[in-house]
């Protein structure tokens, strides 16, 4: 049937990408439809029961300031909260929380259900409807045709998903859920390049059969910090994870049974992630390591299922059981669900623009694991960007794009559309060049302006954040212009604070730079300083203590921007540029970089090719507008 109601935007898939895309469209006033295979698995965590983590915490907070839901959702359903890398500098602090998977999923479902402008239906999309390279809508497995002006596809691992446990295989989108067998064929027909990737998950264990007393508990922080800048107070339990290790016996069981692994017996040929190797991979590749860490994590406050982080495997059930029982604390363990590997179709992301719209078909956007990424946070951040851009496309607005110098989300998307990926792409802080500026703690400060201008942030929230910024600047200025003198009394106090005395007139900012001093200690020295809110205090300290490095990083960004601002027109004709090798020309024509900066990041595009391009663009100056 041709469905009588037509929509502005249709979202295909109710995973982490689809949720954000749906909500932001509805919140921006678009008439939105979400189609997903199973309503009961909206917001399902396919793998580990956790949100955030290194670099991922940044993504969650960026989604939050752009009007997304992930941060708020985990703030209400977390089982423990922790800042990772606390012992290192603020640039790499990352928030992570264990989630009550069930509560997480249900709260997401309710949030969607109560969102204005959003219809939700349980149907599987089989085909994308396109006319004249412009999207028209979708056709589902029930034969329904839904019409819309934009479509966002977020199908995760479901397209032609195939699961491997030992030498057994079966078709599935994820564990027991049905796969989407037809959609990727429809995408192929539209001319998109589709390939295969692989990922895996760990066995789920029965808590009643684990000897936790023998293991090292890992609780969350005593003073948990919420993900969302909107959350005023966290009211959640602090349930520990447990740490244990594999040992030589474990490794022996695995090595003896490699023929039971679909990876090593050659059944699975697609590429899995290097950073998230299966335990069999780790044992083989890092033969010299005698043990690997395993974290046992709660999946749900009430359930007895335990997630065994660090044990991704697709060995046979028997081997899984045997090696598990060699591990301390797991001697008598029972498996509730085995680990498995899954192979699925993904769309080569170099076929996308920075807005996540396909270059081939107008109005068709892709987000999440379908673009070759892995992880809930990576999915959510693409979901929100694709969602915003679907809405902006309909509203006739310029695409909403974050630069590598603005957000981890910007780094993620730029990497994907510029370089593509050969393995499931996961975010790392090391992928971001400018992470001293792109910190997690200042996410809302750095993105508020952009978010507000795009209509993603309310005026009240914006004003509140601007007030914080003003306050921080004011305090910094005060510290830089308040001087103390080397009087006997001052130096006595300094000694008491455990720091060097001063010999000349010194401003307070300079003192604050000393490792052993902080704002509160300065107040002891100089009681006129006002008491500050915890967050403001932290930002002031970071800004002052790291000033030298922040300045250096800002210079690095300036250098970076020089090339980003050398724009290449969309209709630029590379065939006219002599001197480029066919390979390089082919790449440039495929990726269509929007700037020299982006062109420089395309793999295989040599510095020599860039020089030719720059010379050529300069020669044709009239068409070469420096947008800066």
């Amino acid at each position: 049937m041709r469905y009588p109601k037509s929509y502005d935007v249709i979202i295909v898939g109710g995973g982490h990408a689809g949720i954000e895309a749906s909500l932001i469209n509805a919140r921006l006033g678009m008439n939105t439809l979400l189609l997903t295979i199973a309503l009961d698995s909206i917001g399902q965590m396919s793998c580990n029961p956790a949100i955030g983590g290194l670099a991922k915490g940044h993504l969650v907070k960026e989604v939050d300031i752009l009007g997304g839901e992930m941060a708020r959702n985990i703030d209400e359903t977390g089982l423990q909260f922790k800042i990772l890398n606390r012992s290192k500098g603020p640039a790499v602090w990352s928030s992570r929380a264990q989630a009550d998977m069930t509560a997480y999923r249900l709260r997401m479902k309710y949030t969607l259900e109560h969102q204005k402008n959003l219809d939700i239906k349980q149907e599987m999309v089989d085909e994308i409807l396109v006319e004249n390279n412009e999207v028209r809508g979708v056709r589902t497995n029930l034969g329904n045709e839904y019409y819309s002006k934009a479509v966002v596809i977020t199908t995760g691992t479901f397209m032609k998903g195939k699961i491997f446990i030992g030498l057994n295989t079966y078709s599935a989108g994820r564990a027991w859920e049905p796969p989407s067998e037809k959609l990727s064929d429809s995408l192929r027909k539209l001319g998109l390049k589709v390939s295969r990737l692989k990922t895996g998950t760990t066995p789920r264990l029965d808590a009643r059969t684990i000897d936790f007393d023998a293991l090292i508990p890992q609780p969350g922080d005593d003073e948990p910090i919420p993900f969302s800048f909107r959350t005023k107070e966290l009211n959640r339990p602090n349930i520990p994870c447990y740490l244990t290790y594999t040992n030589e016996k474990t490794h022996e069981v695995i090595l003896k049974n490699l023929d039971q692994s679909p990876l090593y017996s050659g059944i699975v040929e697609s590429v899995g992630p290097r950073y998230c190797p299966s335990i069999e991979d780790k044992v083989v590749k890092f033969f010299e390591k005698k043990q690997h860490q395993i974290f046992l994590e709660p999946q749900d406050e009430k359930s007895t299922e335990i997630y065994a982080d660090g044990l991704h495997t697709s060995m046979s059930y028997e081997v899984q059981l045997n090696f598990l029982r060699t591990i301390k604390g797991l001697e008598k363990v029972e498996i509730m669900r085995p680990g498995y590997a899954i192979e699925y179709d993904f769309v080569d992301p170099t076929q996308l623009k920075q807005s996540l719209e396909t270059k081939k078909i107008r109005g068709l956007f892709l987000a999440g694991q379908i673009n070759g990424t892995s992880g809930y946070e990576e999915a959510a951040s693409q979901g929100i960007i694709a969602g915003i851009n679907a809405a902006f496309y309909l509203l006739g607005k310029e695409p909403f794009i974050l630069g590598r110098d603005e957000a981890y989300t910007g780094v993620l998307i730029d990497d994907l559309v510029t370089k593509g990926t050969k393995e499931p792409y996961r975010m790392f802080t090391s992928r971001a060049e400018y992470r001293l500026i792109l910190r997690e703690d200042n996410t809302h400060l750095r993105l508020a302006e952009k978010s507000f201008r795009a209509g993603l942030l309310s005026r009240d929230e914006y004003e509140m954040i601007m007030e914080q910024r003003r306050k921080i600047e004011e305090v910094i200025k005060r510290l830089k212009t308040t001087f103390i003198f080397p009087t006997e009394e001052t130096n006595k106090k300094l000694k008491m604070l455990g720091t060097e005395i001063i010999k000349t007139k010194t401003d307070l900012a300079k003192l604050l730079r000393r490792t052993e001093l902080n704002y509160d200690k300065l107040r002891e020295l100089h009681p006129e300083l006002e008491e500050l809110d915890k967050f403001i205090k932290q930002e002031v300290e970071i800004d002052i203590k790291y000033e030298g490095y922040l300045t250096m990083q800002k210079q690095q960004i300036e250098k970076f921007k020089k090339y980003e601002n050398l724009k290449i027109p969309e209709d630029f004709d590379y065939t006219k540029v002599g001197g480029l090798s066919n390979e390089v020309r082919g790449k440039l024509m495929e990726i269509k970089p929007t700037s020299i900066g982006q062109a420089m990041r395309i793999s295989g595009v040599t510095p020599a090719a860039i020089s030719i391009l720059m010379v050529y663009l300069k020669k044709h100056n009239d068409r070469f507008k420096n947008s800066a």
Binding site: N48, L54, A55, L84, N85, S87, K88, G89, P90, A91, V92, P273, R274, Y275, C276, P277, K282, K285, F286, K289, H292, Q293, F295, D309, G310, H312, K419, F428, T429, S430, R431, E433, R435, L436, Y546, Y549, M552, Q553, Q556, K559, V577, G578, G579, L580, S581, M600, R601, S603, T606, P607, A608, A609, S611, I612, V615, Y616, K619
Partner: protein, 453 residues
């Protein structure tokens, strides 16, 4: 004159040295109709054909008998219509032909401009063009060999070593950040410091090899000072010859009369203010000490000439005082040693001293060795390289960055901040050792460290 990339350009392509046959190259859109105006053989001109005829001046008189070969766009070296005139009438004649070409609309090509056009028209990629340019610009056989060696990438292995070390250290630093929960057996602080210091030392070595390598490419400027009659003019004649061996100035343009170029042991040198030193047969000009000191600020090396056969005079002492204050290298040339030694050498405070006789030629070899050792600082040709000014500047900053890194690693500061140091380091080294991307680093990280949950 405004210069454009679509002008017709012309230049002598065979070098400036007198040779039996000289070649003038002309390139640009419309260059063939320009040929028509000056050449006795009229079109059609075909690609890769050679035509015999005469170049005539504006009155129709023959300048020279020539062969002209034709290369049509886009198949020529520059990718444009191009022809080459092979003339045998010597420099004077070639200059006349050039002037004739200018009359009908060509302009003098700038150094490297043919190559630049080849590059712009897609005939060369930049790295080739750069290499070719370097080879072209080499003024001596020796510089050419060094340039070619660098082209063949012998210096690559040092760069690769630096690159590998940086990547490893970056990956190691990143592992601390991104995978703190892993109990990765990483290297010790002392080992990290050692690697940084090795990187730094290597960079310094490159810097020095390039600094002195550039002397070989760009040459060095000499000046000769000394009181009247001490033998300056004789010295000039001895090392340069009566006439300069190489003239860098382009014929037809105003000639810079005060500078003469020549080479010693394959190192190009030029001498400033030779007009003040050289004496022609009829004019016997005695120049004063003041004039003799005129060019010392612009010189890399000052040859201070003293008379071995007499004691140091006030004028000599005055010169010594002046030279003590300058930064350039000073070589005391003790001349007229064939007349015996009255001069007290210990009173001459300069490190480099050479005893010589311009009359007998004694000591010339020692002087040349001295000049070579000052120019190349004992680097062998195998070690020397050439880098451009901006690469040198970047290298310098990279070396400073290594120092900062050493300090920061020593203080065991936050790895994220060390990451900022590394980013600056790789930014600086971009032009020298090639771009290091995060992707490269991750590659190394996954290979060397067991990562992942």
């Amino acid at each position: 004159m405004q210069k454009h990339d679509d002008d017709i350009i012309a230049a002598i392509a065979s070098g400036q040295v007198e040779a039996a046959i000289g070649v003038i190259r002309v390139s640009g859109k419309g260059s063939l109709s320009l040929l028509e105006k000056v050449f006795s053989k009229k079109p059609p001109y075909e690609h890769r054909k050679i035509y015999y005829g005469f170049i005539k001046d504006k009155f129709g008189d023959v300048i020279d008998e020539v062969l002209v070969n034709i290369h049509k766009a886009p198949k020529s070296y520059t990718g444009e219509d191009l022809f080459e005139i092979n003339a045998h009438g010597g420099l004077v004649c070639m200059n006349k032909i050039l002037e004739r070409l200018f009359e009908v609309g060509a302009r003098l090509a700038e150094p490297g401009e043919f190559t630049k056009r080849a590059f712009l028209n897609g005939k060369l990629d930049l790295s080739q063009a750069e290499a070719v340019a370097k080879v072209i610009s080499a003024k001596t056989e020796r510089a050419l060999k060094v340039a070619e060696r660098q082209l063949q990438g012998q210096f690559r292995s040092t760069l690769d070593d630096i690159r590998d070390k940086i990547l490893f250290l970056m990956a190691e630093n990143e592992v601390r950040i991104d995978h703190p929960e892993e109990d990765l057996s990483s290297i010790t602080q002392a080992e990290r410091l050692k690697m940084v210091s090795e990187i730094k030392e290597n960079l310094k070595k490159i810097y020095r090899a390039a600094k002195y390598g550039n002397n070989l490419f760009n040459g060095m400027v000499l000046t000769i000072v000394g009181k009247p009659n001490v033998g300056k003019s004789s010295l000039l004649n001895l090392i340069v010859g009566q006439e300069s061996a190489i003239v860098t100035d382009i014929p037809g343009t105003t000639r810079d009369i005060v500078k003469e170029s020549f080479s010693i042991k394959g190192i190009p040198f030029s001498i400033l203010d030779t007009a003040g030193i050289r004496k022609t047969e009829d004019v016997v000009e005695k120049i004063g000490v003041e004039r003799s000191l005129r060019a010392i600020d612009r010189a890399d090396i000052v040859l201070a000439v003293f008379d071995s056969s007499s004691e140091l005079s006030d004028e000599d002492l005055q010169i010594i005082e002046k030279l003590k204050k300058i930064n350039s290298e000073v070589v005391a040339v003790i001349n007229k040693s064939d007349l015996g030694q009255k001069i007290e050498l210990s009173k001459i405070p300069f490190k480099h001293k050479v005893q010589i006789s311009c009359k007998t030629g004694m000591g010339l070899k020692q002087l040349e060795d001295k000049l070579e050792s000052i120019a190349l600082k004992g680097f062998s040709d195998r070690e020397l390289i050439s880098l451009n000014a901006s690469q040198m500047e970047s290298l310098k900053k990279a070396i400073e960055m290594c120092e900062q890194l050493e300090q920061d690693i020593d203080n065991d500061i936050d790895p994220a901040l060390i990451g900022v140091d590394f980013l600056s380091l790789t930014d600086y080294l971009d032009e020298v050792i090639g771009r290091i991307t995060n992707e490269d680093m991750l590659e190394v990280m996954f290979k060397n460290f067991c990562i992942g949950k």
